[in-house]
């Protein structure tokens, strides 16, 4: 049950513009049910290489060109998604490349290709037609040569030569368990075609591309969004839900991915944690990774060589929220090891302040996360509540950290990051500073609106069965 979209590569929120006005816009076909319908119309047409699908008007515009055609340009679009036939835009080939329609026009020996329509310097019998795709001087494979696309060359001494276009399998290899694989293989190891990630048939699944932006679940390419042992995909075969893909490994197994490893704390999701904590936060001992009881699992150490699944140490082999383990308790399959401390991701403090820092007059101008402070006199990216004129007492100079509102947590600044209105600075209380204790006797408090619960717990409890 393959989708016609399987032949297309998607660029979300993108329009393909033709810069030569003589070409003129192509007509829109309105009220097309969905992008698949567009693909069904474009697929069989030899002069349709791509199409726009308007997600709001459900319109479809068939295009005879792609982003690799001359005088075209990609443009961000709030309305359209661009679908281009894989054969025309992929830089790698499947099988022997007879369907390749890319624009490589040079041979492995570096010789420019001869135009197919030319019979000089090398005469031949392959004349271009709309169907055989022998366009310009692009590498093609009209005779099914097992070595892939080739061309006649412009060197009379070399009649023809292969172009050396890599197979999509060889074009990208996988590190560790292939979580970072972003190649274009779209068939499983048994040869079944992959289902598109943005479709729920034939196999419904939870991996919606919009929800897993960091996994780049593009089109129907093999990916590893769930920490499996290697990239996989759902298949277009209704009888087979998902299968692994056959992809080459890069180099040695054991090097970790790009994050540094930590021993006494964990950073981010803890994928680099290599410490020896071996109980859950609930104090339950962890099960050994190389054991299958009390819990059977798929995380065999030899299949996750670079995840260091030694003994029963807390680890994060699948990109979960934090280090975790299978527990030794039959009734509790897995648990996080949140008792492991988080490494601080603050910058090292560069200066110090006394009290709450209201009298700090230093020139530190970075937040604890390293973001540059916004000038107090600026209005963007954040409109300040405190300005040099509104708070003269605070000496709001340039973009230096200050504490105009007596914030008890120290000097701060508005930041140049649009997403972070303000943050505390890379400062710390001076060693000789003793903040006053807060453990004073409580004083009276009055609450009006919040904190009420209807009905009160004890009454409600009496009604519970």
């Amino acid at each position: 049950q393959r989708s016609p979209l399987n032949d297309f590569q998607t660029l979300r929120g993108t329009e393909l513009q033709h810069l030569l006005h003589a070409e003129g816009p192509r007509p829109w076909q309105e009220d097309v049910a969905d992008a698949e319908e567009c693909a069904r119309r474009c697929g069989p047409l030899l002069d349709c290489r791509a199409f726009h699908y308007n997600v709001s008007s459900h319109g479809c515009q068939l295009l005879p060109w792609t982003q690799d055609s001359p005088h075209t340009q990609l443009q961000r679009s709030g309305r359209c998604d661009l679908f281009q036939k894989k054969d025309y835009v992929q830089t790698c080939i499947m099988d022997n490349g007879v369907k390749y329609r890319g624009t490589v026009a040079i041979t492995t020996g570096g010789l420019p290709c001869q135009h197919w329509s030319h019979r000089f310097p090398n005469d031949h019998r392959y004349m271009p037609t709309l169907r055989n795709g022998l366009e310009e001087n692009f590498c093609r494979n009209p005779d099914g040569d097992p070595r892939g696309p080739w061309c006649y060359t412009t060197d009379p001494a070399v009649r023809f030569q292969s172009c050396g276009i890599k197979s999509c399998r060889e074009a990208a290899c996988i590190w560790c368990n292939g979580e970072d694989y972003r190649g274009a293989v779209d068939h499983t190891e048994s040869g079944r075609e992959c289902q598109r990630w943005d479709l729920q048939r034939p196999h419904p699944h939870p991996f919606e591309p919009g929800k897993f932006l960091d996994k780049d679940l593009d089109d129907n390419y093999c990916r590893n969004p769930d920490g499996s042992e290697r990239p996989w995909c759902y298949t277009t075969d209704p009888q087979v839900e998902r299968e692994f893909c056959d992809l080459p490994r890069c180099g040695s197994e054991t090097q970790p991915r790009h994050e540094a490893t930590t021993l006494n704390c964990f950073r981010g999701k803890g994928e680099g944690y290599r410490g020896t904590a071996n109980t859950t936060a609930a104090g339950v001992p962890c099960q050994r990774w190389d054991a299958q009881s009390p819990h059977q699992h798929r995380f065999a150490p030899e299949k996750y060589a670079c995840k260091d699944l030694r003994e029963n140490f807390c680890r994060n082999p699948d990109g979960s929220e934090a280090p975790w383990c299978f527990t030794s308790r039959p009734g509790m399959r897995v648990a996080f090891c949140y008792q492991i401390r988080r490494c601080t991701d603050d910058m090292r403090p560069e200066d110090c302040y006394h009290g709450a820092g209201e009298r700090y007059r230093g020139s530190i101008s970075r937040t604890r996360k390293g973001i540059l402070c916004q000038r107090w006199s600026a209005e963007t990216p954040h409109k300040p509540q405190f300005t040099p004129s509104s708070a003269p007492h605070a000496h709001l100079e340039e973009n230096f950290c200050r504490n105009p509102d007596g914030d008890s947590h120290g000097p701060w600044c508005y930041t140049t990051d649009p997403g972070t209105p303000f943050d505390y600075c890379a400062l710390q209380p001076c060693d000789d500073d003793q903040p006053p204790s807060i453990l004073e006797p409580p004083d009276q408090v009055l609450f009006e609106k919040c904190g009420k619960r209807v009905p009160p717990l004890d009454q409600h409890r009496s009604k519970l069965r």
Binding site: A282, E321, A322, P441, V445, G451
Partner: protein
């Protein structure tokens, strides 16, 4: 929650990851703001697409038709001051307050809860088979002074933290409850005095539990919501 019982806590919310799984608790302090624990998030700049807050239900896995259920995407995360172990989550839209969903009061700045004050924790976390995993569990705890707490914890408890009395039987928060509330009944109202953070062991008998003291960070909370 270990040693608790099914109960109601209309300000307690469930944080859900992209797979829709519950992974932490939180407290609704404003219609559009939830206070929870830093420990629950991998970084202060984590992509939040797909993360949601579920409110208005007692169930860990409510049915889609659950009348009280509100599912609100998380729009923004703001990390608390260094050492606070807190984060504030801004929701994409305000929660609707009703008999299933209510705000909890914030204490005045630097307010210290008197010892012996009655409080409760709530969460959908690990029960260690002492409760019903399918619903919200609530357990009662009593505040003790930092001075008393530091006897057992050998002076490690900071002023920005607070403690509850050690009990002979296992009662307390556990994995999956982090970020949830320690709510105390003060002057005829429930007030969010503490936030559940990971302790070395969950609900350890004869051992005082440690929470973050919310009143130390109330000025930061007001500032973030205001700015």
């Amino acid at each position: 929650v270990v040693g608790g019982q099914p109960g109601i806590s209309p300000w307690t919310v469930s944080l859900r990851n992209r797979q829709g799984q519950h992974f932490c608790g939180g407290s609704l302090v404003k219609e559009q703001w939830v206070l929870t624990a830093r420990q629950c998030f991998s970084s202060c700049h984590v992509p939040l697409t797909g993360y949601e807050v579920w409110l208005g239900t007692m169930f860990q896995n409510p049915q889609p038709g659950d009348p009280g259920l509100q599912r609100v995407p998380v729009a923004k995360l703001v990390c608390g001051p260094s050492g606070s172990q807190l984060v504030l989550l801004k929701l994409e839209r305000p929660a609707t307050l009703n008999q299933h969903v209510a705000l909890i009061c914030l204490p005045p700045e630097r307010y210290v809860v008197p010892p012996e004050t009655k409080c409760e924790i709530a969460g959908w976390g690990e029960t260690k088979d002492t409760g019903n995993n399918a619903v919200l569990n609530v357990a009662s705890l009593t505040v003790i002074s930092n001075q008393e707490c530091n006897i057992k914890h050998r002076g490690r408890v900071r002023e920005s933290e607070m403690c509850t009395k050690a009990l002979l039987v296992p009662v307390g928060a556990c994995e999956g409850d982090y970020g949830g509330p320690l709510a105390c009944f003060t002057h005829d109202c429930w007030v969010l005095e503490g936030i559940i953070i990971p302790n070395r062991v969950c609900a350890r008998p004869r051992w005082p539990a440690i929470f973050m003291r919310v009143s130390v960070f109330v000025d930061w909370i007001h500032k973030v919501i205001r700015l």
